[in-house]
Symmetry: C2
Subunit: 322 residues, 2 copies
């Protein structure tokens, strides 16, 4: 939540979302409470709730309606993370032990299910039927994105198009929906809803590409060291796809593809190839292009403090990349 400190008013609302999350997620069982508290304390940025609330500012903003809605979206997001870590057999997320590594796959499956049901319950109480149906399609789409990623592990034939489709399902649709329902539930004009939805989608795309890049370059929270965890798990993201498309580098990279037994040195060599071939640079450029599209959408939206905050989010994402 550090990133919100610059924006005092958003920071206050996000704190209220956080309080609401803590209250709604109290379970009857100790193990669930422990696992959930751990997730809540992991310091998520609450980007999706922020999108809901900021989008709401373009219409008749009603916090009593938007806080439960934004919390439901965050809970859904948390549920997918917990299950993803089971599927990917991940032990760390952002440098912290995952639910599965701390309490086992069984508790992780149950925790994810509990979070899904909680999100569902909040949604049925607070959202219009139309938006509810949209939300349910989005969870389905996230699930399909995950299956696609799981199924294409360790294969070299993922195209850029397929990668983009996958991250759209896996990440961008939820950002897009956050903006859309925030605006729609605040009775924004149709064109405003459309622009915000588009903004959310492009932001989500840039966000996921950046996230995939950080696996190669490392980030602050993990002391700047690249973890290469995607590559090690056979998830070949954009930098790798670009490197494989580069005739000069394809043959050098191929020996590392499809292998589950890479040494630390070998995976470092993969990182070097992605850098040298321009795979990282091209990925950065594509992320930038999505961020430019975000600015384009913002340009057509009415000026207000929420627009300023969205602009700053885009700037922060650009900075995160370097």
């Amino acid at each position: 939540m550090r990133i919100w400190k610059k924006h005092a008013d958003i920071y206050e609302i996000i704190k209220r979302v956080d309080d609401f999350l803590r209250e709604s997620l109290i379970a009857n069982q100790q193990v669930l409470n422990d696992a959930i508290n751990d997730l809540l304390n992991a310091g998520g940025k609450r980007l999706r709730p922020a999108m809901v609330l900021l989008a709401g500012r373009f219409g008749r903003y009603d916090e009593n309606k938007l806080i439960p809605l934004s919390a439901a979206i965050e809970i859904m997001h948390m549920a997918t993370l917990v299950h993803d870590d089971v599927i990917d057999e991940s032990d760390l997320r952002r440098g912290r032990p995952t639910t599965r590594s701390r309490w086992g796959n069984q508790v992780a499956v149950l925790t994810g299910d509990f979070l899904f049901t909680k999100a569902f319950s909040l949604i049925t109480q607070n959202v219009s039927q139309k938006n509810m149906h949209r939300l349910s399609s989005v969870i389905k789409s996230i699930c399909e994105g995950e299956v696609d990623q799981f199924q294409s592990r360790y294969t070299a034939d993922v195209s850029v198009i397929r990668y983009l489709k996958r991250i759209s399902r896996k990440t961008a649709v939820l950002f897009s929906l956050s903006c859309q329902v925030g605006a729609a539930e605040s009775n924004c004009r149709r064109e405003t809803i459309r622009l915000l939805r588009k903004f959310g989608h492009d932001f989500g795309m840039a966000f996921q590409i950046t996230d995939d890049l950080l696996d190669f370059s490392g980030n602050e929270e993990e002391m700047g060291k690249p973890s290469y965890s995607d590559f090690l798990e056979g998830v070949y993201t954009l930098p790798i796809i670009y490197t494989l498309r580069n005739e000069k580098y394809r043959d050098k990279l191929v020996p590392y593809i499809g292998r589950e037994d890479l040494t630390r040195d070998e995976v470092k060599e993969v990182g070097r190839l992605a850098e040298e071939s321009g795979g990282l640079k091209k990925s950065r450029q594509l992320a930038l292009r999505y961020l430019e599209r975000c600015h384009e959408s913002l340009k057509h939206l009415p000026d207000n403090p929420a627009k300023g905050a969205l602009k700053e989010l885009v700037e922060e994402l650009i900075e995160r990349r370097h």
Copy 2:
């Protein structure tokens, strides 16, 4: 679905529910389709959809409304089974390989999530907001029942009350809800809804106790051999709880409690103790008492063919026990 052949009209509707299930559960990914087809072909009895539809016959029965609703409940039930098998590390269910044993835990988690989202999507399209909220509390309750079962594995201090509370959450609430929403969405009178909800609850309790008994006595589908799988997994059900309460047998059973390394002969001895101590008999009696309560509720409901079918379901459950 064999059990429905006696009831030609229910058989026809259940076939339509099955067709609807197959149509709604088509996924974009092959592995999901394979896993789901396997589940659909496993020959579930579709008891919950039948409850929805039969309850609907007590009011203004609208098949177009009730079929999607009953399918959603069945899908939710399927989702919980798939995840349960991950949690319990079960390789067989009713004598067939489970999703996790055939495709791995990862696909099983994804399949369960996909089913949840599908159920959610059907519910948001077809159910009134009030019943939707009821449905979401029920999934939460199922989830809590599972956590309770998971947490009390291999411990001897489960009381009868706690067992009943657990199976109520895990099983009876969904039967109860099936009857309730079937009746409510068909605009039944308040007293009719109440009686059907109660019928569903008592039926679900008897159903689960019977299911737990079958683990000790074996059933047709598994060639009559007891599997003792609950006991082996540390899930101590009613017959064991009764045996532990029996002063003469407690000390004989205790050495087998809390152990994950039992041999086939040892677990057979556990079965013998449950029989000899009267634990099985007392469990059967409790199931019967719930079935008597079912008859009691039916007595106060108006006479119609649906009531006849519910009565027969109760009779069949009694027979299943012997």
